[in-house]
């Protein structure tokens, strides 16, 4: 982080008094935490550790894990590429209908994932809105890994936009104004002042997007289909394994949880090192 950022942090820390918490908040907080943690514990009790290694290293499991990591990474990159400019426009400009625009961008958050998949199908499918155009261009996304990445990006993008826009509004425009007064061009201000100030927000947004992409199920199965090594990501493999081999499904679920936890943990570590 640049010196400006460090300065803001230090001031904030200095002026904020330590707040005491009312004792009663701990009760609902503990209940809520238990509600989240208990199902994970219940899952752990169902894992047959003897076969765990064999279950998660089967050919189909490894193919699903690899595909999941590849697609979730690709969609996180896309989320950053498109989400950062979207967040900047929402946070730093004002135009008519901005509220509506923001709601529309956040819409995938409230849509059931299957509905997202149907919407994508009606847009990019063979008979969709852009289907004909894409056929002329010789592009076909149905049943390809690209379709998986599109489905994941669609549902994960709002997470990045929301967290980054919040971070930008919090950071304020003071340093940007100063930089502009000193003669910095907009691109330079954006890259050297705006972005460095919101790196923590960007990182947490990217992590949220990655986690959402990793867990994506409904939109993928509706829009992309399910074929080993091509479109069958880890959540789809888990759902399928459950049909014949519940033990394998439990083992794979644990693997998915472990991967997600690892990613969040690593990013947290990297963030606090900033």
């Amino acid at each position: 982080m640049n010196p400006a950022g460090r300065a803001t942090r230090a001031t904030t820390r200095h002026t904020t008094p330590r707040l005491g918490l009312p004792a009663w908040v701990f009760v609902p907080a503990a209940v809520g935490a238990l509600f989240v943690v208990l199902p994970l514990v219940a899952m752990l009790t169902r894992v047959q550790w003897r076969d765990f290694g064999a279950l998660i290293t089967s050919e189909s499991s490894l193919a699903a894990l690899e595909l999941s990591l590849r697609t979730a990474t690709a969609s996180t990159v896309l989320c950053v590429l498109f989400g950062v400019p979207m967040a900047v426009v929402l946070a730093r400009t004002s135009f008519r209908g901005q509220g509506v625009a923001r709601s529309l961008v956040l819409l995938p958050l409230v849509m059931p994932p299957v509905v997202c998949g149907i919407a994508l199908l009606y847009t990019f499918g063979r008979r969709g809105l852009l289907g004909h155009t894409m056929e002329v261009l010789g592009v076909q996304v149905a049943f390809t890994t690209a379709a998986v990445v599109m489905a994941q990006t669609f549902v994960a993008l709002p997470f990045l936009v929301v967290s980054l826009e919040g971070a930008m509004r919090t950071a304020g425009t003071r340093y940007e104004s100063v930089a502009a007064t000193l003669g910095a061009r907009p691109t330079r201000v954006f890259l050297r002042v705006t972005l460095p100030l919101v790196v923590p927000g960007l990182v947490s947004g990217a992590v949220l997007s990655f986690a959402r992409a990793l867990g994506e199920f409904g939109a993928t199965i509706t829009f992309a289909g399910s074929l080993q090594g091509v479109t069958r990501t880890l959540p789809l493999e888990i759902y399928l394994q459950r049909e014949t081999d519940p033990q394998a499904a439990v083992a794979l679920s644990l693997l998915l949880v472990a991967v997600a936890t690892l990613v969040i943990g690593l990013t947290r570590g990297a963030r606090s090192a900033l």
């Binding site: 956040l106 958050l109 409230v110 849509m111 059931p112 994932p113 299957v114 199908l121 009606y122 499918g125 063979r126 008979r127 149905a142 049943f143 997470f159 929301v162 967290s163 826009e165 919040g166 971070a167 509004r169 919090t170 923590p200 927000g201 409904g218 199965i221 509706t222 992309a224 289909g225 399910s226 074929l227 080993q228 479109t231 069958r232 789809l236 759902y239 399928l240 394994q241 459950r242 049909e243 014949t244 519940p246």
Partner: protein, 271 residues
Amino acid sequence: MSRTSNRLLAVVTAVVLVSTAAACGSSGHGSTKGAGASGSSSSSGLSGEITVYAAASLKKTFTEIGTQVQAAHPGTTVRFSFAGSSDLAAQLQQGAPADVFASADTRNMAKVSGAGLTAAAPVDFATNTLEIAVPPGNPARISSLRDLTRPGVTVVVCAPQVPCGGASVKVEQAAGLTLKPVSEEQDVTDVLGKVVTGEADAGLVYVTDVKGAGDEVEGVEFPESTAAANTYPIAVLKSSTNPALASAFLSAVTGVQGQRVLASAGFTKAP
């Protein structure tokens, strides 16, 4: 982080919770409640209510049979929970309270009866065979199972792990063909969805699915389909709190009227 971003985070959390709840609510556990009044017992001596766990492919036919049962025995109520057979079997094994279970295959019924949950031996009441579903107009001009192996034809089937996929493998073997599907779907609804939207040129689904989809797809019959007829068994469960009404429902399914309802939906009689 400051108040603004915390508030945003709260909004996001709320929104995610709501959407998750909505997604859960929309999963296929629609229960149909009949018009039967509670309490008053009919001349047949049957009263009260039962819950029937039935395969999703039985939704239309069983709802109709349930209405018939309620009409024949005033004062009774037949409720349904429709979902994938393996989902229902798993729920029953975890102790879900139900009176009757009807599965789309013998494998999932075996799970339930094997766990000692059925009151009597399951009865086979219908069979279902595969058919090729194509989009209206049959753009890829499919007329046989062999046509599905033509290069450039996008075919979607069920994954071998689910009943319809197991049946697909059997017909492939019977015909001596190997299909190269672009996708192996989780269930027959997903296969049908890919055909209805025109994403796939053809899909292997059940005869009853083609009939149920109306004008949205066309069906192409093929002789090899007889190699894989899926048998539907039904059984009264030991945990039933109303075994009399549960048996009456089972009799209605296997009886003349019930069989007529099933036949008109495309099911064939169990051998």
